[in-house]
């Protein structure tokens, strides 16, 4: 099932929650809406579900406008952030609910419930009630209730946010596998960029109600449309250095810094009247050495964070804080000198005013 959002807008009173959002979700695709809280991603999802009426614009399912179709007739399943399991029903009755509402024969309901329970490995839980389940088990039951009736699309509203870190990783993998097995169109809302990168065929990054970028995870990571996307996607996010472009010298300049610009960046910068602009570079493109190396720039260690497999080094370079991803065995004490090299072939330039990538 394809879902089209055309100039979708939603306002609550004076505040614009979703602003002129247009995008298309293909059949069988998994699209992730990514953004900080309050960016309008959940509201968008609720509009697709039919729980919220758009203020303006249109939602089309398989090219049919559905603005006036109530949720029960859209044949879409939704997994709520709170799971929304019916507390007075057993797990089996919870899963059976969508089928019972559709008045299926009880033998058929029984068959489909046990089939779905087997798929999600929750057969031993069927007789229990939601309050006797752990968070991960509730999550599975909520999923089972969504897939039991083979809906045309899944909507998931931060389904993993109530799980502890380890379980979240495990469920993330299982969700991906499930989505690929079933091949059902899925819209997934999250504020966790790692979930977005791993789950989405395409990711829609939202900020303050507006769509910032809609592209594949790799494209979003490697070619962020603007400073917000660059900062929000990736952990840690991109480093930014404010400065000036000197076109004639082919250099990026700032107080005590002067960096040669690569061919690619020159191309980006050329033809533009540039004063100030922002240079962005990901932590993995910053090399770092405790011993002095010629041509590398001296900096001061601000703090180091051990991660085991790698070490994150926060260094102060010309009073700007830069995060670098270094090998796990690197050790550096705060306030000691360190040498930095920026791989400028992987860097980006952003407009200082609009934040847009050049």
């Amino acid at each position: 099932m394809s879902i089209t959002l055309a100039n979708l807008t939603k306002t609550f009173g004076d505040s614009i929650v979703v602003n002129d959002l247009s995008l298309e979700i293909g059949d069988g695709e998994c699209v992730v809406f990514l953004g900080p809280s309050g960016c309008g991603k959940t509201t968008t999802l609720r509009m697709i579900a039919g729980l919220e009426q758009p203020t303006a614009g249109e939602i089309r399912i398989n090219d049919h406008p559905v603005n006036d179709v109530p949720p029960q007739q859209r044949d879409i399943a939704m997994v709520f952030q709170s799971y929304a399991l019916y507390p007075h029903l057993t797990v089996a009755q919870n899963i059976a609910y969508p089928l019972r509402v559709r008045k299926l024969a009880s033998a058929e309901i029984q068959r489909q419930v046990s089939q779905t329970a087997a798929l999600l490995e929750i057969e031993p839980l069927l007789a229990r009630r939601p309050r006797d389940l752990s968070g991960g088990e509730r999550q599975r039951v909520a999923l089972a209730r969504a897939i039991v009736r083979h809906p045309r699309a899944f909507l998931m509203d931060e389904p993993l946010s109530n799980l502890d870190a380890k379980l979240r990783l495990q469920m993330r993998g299982e969700l991906k596998r499930l989505q690929q097995t079933l091949g059902t169109t899925t819209v997934y809302v999250t504020h966790d960029q790692a979930e977005a990168m791993t789950l989405g065929n395409r990711v829609a990054v939202m900020h303050k109600g507006g769509l910032q970028q809609f592209d594949t995870p790799l494209e979003i990571y490697n070619c962020p449309a603007n400073r917000f996307v660059a900062e929000f996607v990736g952990s840690p996010g991109m480093n930014f250095i404010e400065g000036r472009i000197e076109l004639s010298q082919r250099r990026f300049v700032r107080n005590g810094l002067s960096l040669p610009l690569s061919e690619g960046l020159m191309e980006q910068a050329s033809g533009r009247q540039l004063g100030v602009c922002t240079l962005g570079i990901r932590p993995e493109n910053v090399r770092i050495s405790p011993a002095q190396i010629d041509d590398w720039m001296p900096a001061t260690v601000y703090v180091t964070e051990l991660m085991g497999s790698e070490t994150l080094v926060v260094a102060e370079l010309d009073s700007e804080r830069i995060i670098a991803r270094a090998a796990g065995d690197l050790r550096a004490d705060p306030n000691t000198a360190i040498w930095i090299d920026l791989d400028l072939s992987r860097a980006h330039l952003f407009d200082h005013g609009t934040g847009r990538r050049l």
Partner: protein, 276 residues
């Protein structure tokens, strides 16, 4: 120190219990005492020769059986009406927002009707009932008691509905259920404890109501127990035995209902199904 506190605690509880139960016990004994024992000095607390003559007198000789039936019909009927209407109204008030906070104003206005002394409405209501030819009918009492219980039901149930997470009905609707179906299959089962508590209260109010029953009913056809019992105080004498026997029987239905729904009254809402 701890021992003293414990003793004090039980002493206070005991006093409260005595204050509540001694009158009931006294009424119970009177209903079984011969008239000569009822006013014996010193009072006969425990030992007397029991008799059921007052019960026979009340329910065979007089019309208390009919009063009991009337009371049951009126109390159950008005409670059922108030619950159905009030629950639907409360759900709407808890879930739907009207512009300019009209929903909140409406709720307050509904509550305000309870602030008026009941006696103020007695005369106008009597005139209305007379024009509708409803005086001295059980229906008139059902209507009036429904009207009096309605604001209470709306306010109680509005609170219970507000506690049910919206996600649950939305999930039910996305699952394919209509709003009314979601209400019936998901929301209503979750507020059953609240519904039971509200029903007990409505029943008690309707069961005990005296003023309107006195004004609206004149004959045994419609008269309820409170009016019937009080009617045994006459200028020729007071039938303590028959009144006590009727009062003892009057306690039974409410007590039975309260015991039947006790588990709902005690059991809290099954929370924990929503958050992980």
């Amino acid at each position: 120190m701890n021992l003293v506190r414990t003793i004090l605690k039980y002493l206070v509880s005991l006093l409260a219990l005595l204050a509540a139960l001694v009158p009931v016990y006294w009424m119970l004994t009177i209903s079984f005492k011969r008239e000569i024992d009822q006013f014996a000095v010193p009072p006969k607390w425990f030992f007397f020769s029991p008799t059921v003559e007052h019960y026979a007198d009340a329910f065979l000789g007089r019309s208390f059986g009919q009063y009991l039936v009337n009371s049951l019909i009126v109390a159950v009927g008005s409670t059922a009406c108030a619950l159905v209407l009030g629950t639907l109204a409360a759900y709407s008030l808890a879930r739907f927002r009207l512009p300019r906070k009209l929903d909140q104003k409406l709720a307050l206005w509904i509550l305000s009707t309870r602030m008026m002394p009941a006696i103020v409405t007695a005369v106008p209501l009597f005139l209305i009932m007379r024009d509708l030819h409803l005086v001295n009918t059980r229906l008139s009492l059902v209507i009036v008691y429904t009207a009096f219980n309605l604001p209470f039901v709306v306010w109680m149930m509005r609170g219970f509905f507000a506690e049910v997470p919206r996600d649950l009905e939305e999930a039910a609707m996305v699952d394919g259920d209509s709003r009314l179906g979601a209400f019936r299959r998901v929301v209503l089962p979750l507020v059953t404890p609240g519904l039971a508590a509200t029903a007990v209260f409505c029943l008690i109010v309707s069961w005990n109501e005296f003023l309107f029953a006195l004004v609206f009913t004149q004959t045994d056809d419609a008269m309820t127990l409170p009016v019937g019992i009080a009617g045994r105080v006459t200028q020729y004498g007071i039938k303590w035995g028959a009144m006590s026997a009727a009062a003892v029987v009057a306690i039974v239905p409410i007590l039975a209902f309260a015991l039947a729904v006790q588990k709902y009254l005690v059991r809290g809402l099954s929370l924990g199904a929503v958050k992980g």
